[in-house]
Amino acid sequence: MTGRLHPGLIAFAVAVYIFLMGPLVIVIGASLSDTTYLTFPPQGLTLRWFERIFEMSAFRRTMITSFQMATLSTLLALLIGIPAAYALNRFRIALPSWLSTLFVLPVLVPEIVLGFSLLRSVQVGAGVPVFWALLIGHTLIVLPYAVRVVSAALASFDFSIEEAAISLGSPPVKTFFTIVLPNVQAGVIAAFILAFITSINDVSVSLFLTGPGISTLPIQILAHVEQFFDPVVASVSVLLMVLTVAVMAVVERTLGLTFLAK
């Protein structure tokens, strides 16, 4: 759909994109400021706030926890989500229709309510340790990505290919790994990335489930901002943006950036 656009509309869109990009540029600028308070434009340029991050054990620890959570919850969600997505597509007629709705529920229930409920029932009620309760929470919020994105990939997979492989003597489980999985690879990669990013950035669920000694990076950022107004948080934010760029680069390499355009 191309054609002439009103110059006023184009100007408006340019303004919107400045609005979208500007604040991120400002964060980068603020992270370089040689002042003890946050300001933009930066006054003097320094990288010392980046060094400060790694000197502060709270940031070091929460970064590690966040990476652990994102990696483990994503792998766990894929481990249980891929078979579920496969079953939903392969045996659709034999399964009730509400089953697919079930896996969307974590999106439908407000995350903050989920966090509070997990605190009540799982962490306090069932006595599950902080780390594991946090992992359960993260797995729940990333599960919809695993199921839905892989499902979408499977929806365009022709299952007669799988039957062809089985008819040629390949055992079903082996067929799944050698025939089905390679054909929905793009979906699995996309699901992995979306799930990982969602977990890394989560606030609302982690808010209730972090406990003494175990916290995640976004929660630590919130806590730090409440007490200090120094550029450290801007530096951490820049690191998180670098992570986003890295993720987009991975997408570029594996799926092509046009994948994001869908």
Binding site: P23, P83, F91, P110, I112, F208
Partner: protein
């Protein structure tokens, strides 16, 4: 046989959702009806408190304003993106994806730098001599709305670009061949066909902003408390779990009502579905 295989493969995920989502959330909601002073005492207390009523109303206002602004900005931008030349379109889409993948905390925090005492806006105002003292801009309802709009515009743009690109070229060309100019084509064909998508986008933004925590916490603080921050304050600061449960139940009710109500409207309005 197929049924058994299907259930077996989906069992782990089903169990996780059932045990760790449905059971705990249901328990939270059920707890609000078991208070010892009758089934609706918790709700009577909530709506009886002027402060909590004000929080609910403020949250609805912020969510409503965010939704309307995001719809307007998002739709016009998405229209430009969808009609841009292919190379530009990919760049513009990637530029919308980038903030979306950058976390809520980072993006809300950016507005602290912009609107804060030593922020860029105040520095400019004082520098130009427009005001003598920095203006208090954070901890206002406006600052929360601005940051929320900032948060949700990329989501809206991406949702609506998809919707607009799904409108077949030949339908638009048919309108042109029948004498409809660019404005008439937009008003009579493109906009009506985008309405279901606008509703989906509105639902995403409304529920997202209604249940948000980080943005109102950073930019609204205690002065602009909303449902999310109130829930956290009740549960983690005041240790008033029954109160927090009631807030949870109201949030679930509003979210479900909006999602179910609007998807029904969207379905009825969607001629492509039939």
């Amino acid at each position: 046989m197929k049924r058994l295989a299907g259930w077996t493969m989906s069992a782990p995920a089903t169990l996780l959702v059932a045990l760790c989502l449905i059971v705990p959330v249901t328990a939270t909601i059920a707890a609000t009806f078991v208070t010892g002073q009758g089934p609706f005492a918790a709700y009577a207390a909530f709506f009886g408190s002027g402060f909590r009523r004000a929080v609910l109303i403020r949250t609805l206002e912020i969510a409503g304003a965010t939704t309307i602004l995001s719809l307007l900005i998002g739709f016009l931008t998405a229209y430009v993106v969808s009609r841009a030349p292919p190379r530009w379109r990919s760049i513009l889409i990637i530029m919308a994806v980038f903030p979306l993948l950058t976390g809520v905390v980072v993006r809300s925090f950016a507005w602290l730098i912009i609107l804060g005492r030593n922020g860029i806006v105040n520095n400019t105002l004082v520098g130009l001599g427009i005001t003598a003292e920095p203006l208090p801009m954070i901890y206002t309802q406006g600052s929360v709305i601005v940051a929320m709009v900032y948060l949700f515009v990329p989501l809206m743009v991406l949702t609506l670009v998809g919707v607009l690109e799904n409108i077949p070229d030949d339908v638009i060309q048919a309108a042109q061949s029948l004498g409809a100019g660019p404005f008439a084509t937009f008003r009579e064909v493109i906009f009506p066909l985008a309405v279901p998508g606008l509703i989906v986008g509105a639902v995403l933004v409304f529920t997202g902003s209604f249940t948000s925590y980080a943005t109102p916490q950073l930019l609204g603080g205690e002065r602009q408390m909303v449902m999310g921050t109130l829930l956290h304050q009740r549960a983690m600061v005041a240790f008033d779990w029954p109160g927090a449960a009631t807030i949870s139940a109201i949030m679930v009710a509003v979210t479900l009502a909006v999602v179910l109500g609007m998807t029904r409207v969207a379905k009825r309005l969607n001629p492509m579905a039939t």
